[in-house]
Subunit: 331 residues, 2 copies
DNA sequence: CGCGTTTACGTCGTTCGTAACGATA
DNA sequence: TATCGTTACGAACGACGTAAACGCG
């Protein structure tokens, strides 16, 4: 058993059991991986994968267990290299972030630009990931940190640092009846309109859905999209009223009206999630502080060490606090 | 960085920074380790050890961190091999146990004999370890399980399974005044006598000491020894009254009188402690069940998974329950 | 016939042990 | 001078890549 064999094993598992693809990803040749996999299986004395003909068809039960352990080994090996890189003030490196479209499009650019200015040698990889898969990618070690939102409690896997709070807003075409009035819209009024929101609002545990159901209403979701830009496009086209994150409404949306909806829906928290026991590169800490200024090196170190005292929770800002005045109308 | 390099690194750290000794322990040559260590340091770009002349003098701060990570890596590599060995019903193996003298001498022999009968290919290594170091050796991966006693709460490091309860007994030479009476001895009476007990009873947090101090008495410890046999020897010699674990009093101590002391001292619990996230060989589970029959495969699996429901706690036996009638007089 | 895996083979790099050297107490 | 670590060297092993063969859809 060697570190290379374990690395190949993980690459194969993460490439959908396609050895050729995995070989490319680890910058090696396909016969090399094939042979090393065989040798590992020989040494362990059982199959890690189920073969169908010559191809790999599935992961063995024992294979799953081994892969789980191998991930820990590779993560710790990376940690050791991070310790070394930090110690020698190595400025190059990469930062892999798994997050959702809204974060990547509206919340992250400022922080990434700042990081790029202060650490030009760091290449940032934004990995677009479906909501449900973000934490899995983090746990699998495919990314260095995850940025994800939730209503209420922090994600249970990994270590979650609260970055900021945000609210939903109601978006209509400019001049829509809803926007002109003195009184903010109610849930009942919204339920009568065709709504456009994120894909995740179709899930029964969606906080949007739950807000309606709590008062016995069923929203009429005319359309969903994974992407705030798409939602805005279809709102412009008159397909319905958009409900989306306040970060997604910007100055260049002059042809849209945005109404606050914090009286209707519970606030959301955006979390930075880190792997437990991971050693962070210096630039990762810098990025975290750019993104969430209340999370300085000291606070992150304390939270990573498992300190549950909520000192960091006290200063979590609302999204507004850190950016140019929003276009959201105050009713 | 290779697994071998990390193994050598740990061996050196665990051999008191003596490379020659470490080389012997990993069955390799001294120049080999020396070179691999240098290569690892070159790759990481910093010194893992502080040199004094040619010798290793201390571990670097960064070295400590790397060693910590390397231990995790090696432990997980061992776990993978354990998965494999279990899967192929490998009957050979070794079981390394760190424990105190009393356990090794009086509590473990039956379980080890039973294990040897059912798994003759398993070689058991009893590692005599000072009380305070038992858990450190477990965490360092030098042993597979630790067996340790405490009054009250479970050890915090690792996963502690309660094996049995026990009490202290008062041991006197046969015919001693204390033993002949109708009433059991009081703390006040004991405090007036020269006592012989374990080394650990000198520590201020010792539960023996605390029992006396709770009622404002200071015991007169005439002598301590690490070893119940030594204590009994000096009790026989008339040097004083022994206070020791009930397991240490056996049928062949006919020339000693033993009085129960559970009305004076709080009960103790003996724990089996396992590393978190360790994969146990089948024979380790067998051993645990021999030693503590209420800890079957299912219970251990549940506790290892982090289940905090105290189902296993309900059936923890007292030492008496599992052995031939004790010689301890019931007052 | 294309895609993906395995087999075969030659080269290169690396590790390891032996032996000699060096430093330190 | 004994102990421990480093350097030097040669042999052997093992990994890797290229090229060709094999199976499968």
């Amino acid at each position: 058993m060697t570190l290379a064999q374990l690395r190949y094993l993980i690459a194969i598992a993460d490439s959908g059991l396609n050895i050729t693809l995995a070989a490319g990803r680890v910058h090696a040749t396909q016969p090399g991986l094939s042979k090393q996999l065989r040798q590992l299986e020989d040494e362990l004395g059982f199959q890690l994968f189920v073969r169908k003909g010559k191809s790999l068809d599935a992961i063995t039960h024992a294979g799953e267990q081994v892969i789980e352990r191998a991930r820990v080994i590779l993560a710790e090996a990376t940690n050791i290299r991070s310790i070394a890189a930090n110690l020698r003030n190595e400025s190059r490196g990469e930062l892999r972030i798994a997050t959702t479209h809204t974060q990547a499009r509206f919340a992250l650019p400022a922080a990434i630009a700042a990081l790029n200015a202060s650490h030009p040698q760091v290449s940032v990889h934004l990995e677009p990931t479906r909501d449900a898969d973000v934490l899995a990618r983090l746990e699998a070690g495919q990314v260095d940190l995850a940025i994800i939102s939730s209503t209420g409690a922090a994600p249970t896997s990994g270590i979650a640092l609260p970055a900021y709070y945000w609210q939903r807003v109601i978006v209509t075409p400019s001049g829509h009846a809803l926007a002109g009035r003195a009184r903010p819209p109610s849930l009942t009024e919204l339920a009568a309109l065709p709504l456009i929101s994120y894909d995740s609002s179709l899930r029964p545990e969606s906080s949007l859905r739950q807000a309606f159901e709590a008062v016995g209403l069923t929203p009429q979701i005319a359309m969903t999209a994974g992407d705030a830009d798409l939602i805005k496009t279809y709102v412009r086209a008159g397909m319905g009223v958009g409900i989306l994150a306040e970060m997604a409404v910007r100055d260049d949306d002059a042809d849209l009206d945005a109404l606050p909806a914090d009286h209707l829906f519970a606030p959301c928290t955006t979390w930075i999630v880190l792997r437990r026991d991971s050693v962070l590169r210096e630039y990762t800490l810098a990025f975290i502080e750019f993104f969430a200024p209340h999370l300085g090196r000291r606070e992150v170190a304390r939270l990573m060490a498992g300190d549950q005292t909520n000192a960091a929770w006290a200063n979590v800002p609302h999204w507004h606090g850190r950016h140019a005045p929003s276009r959201i109308q105050v009713a």
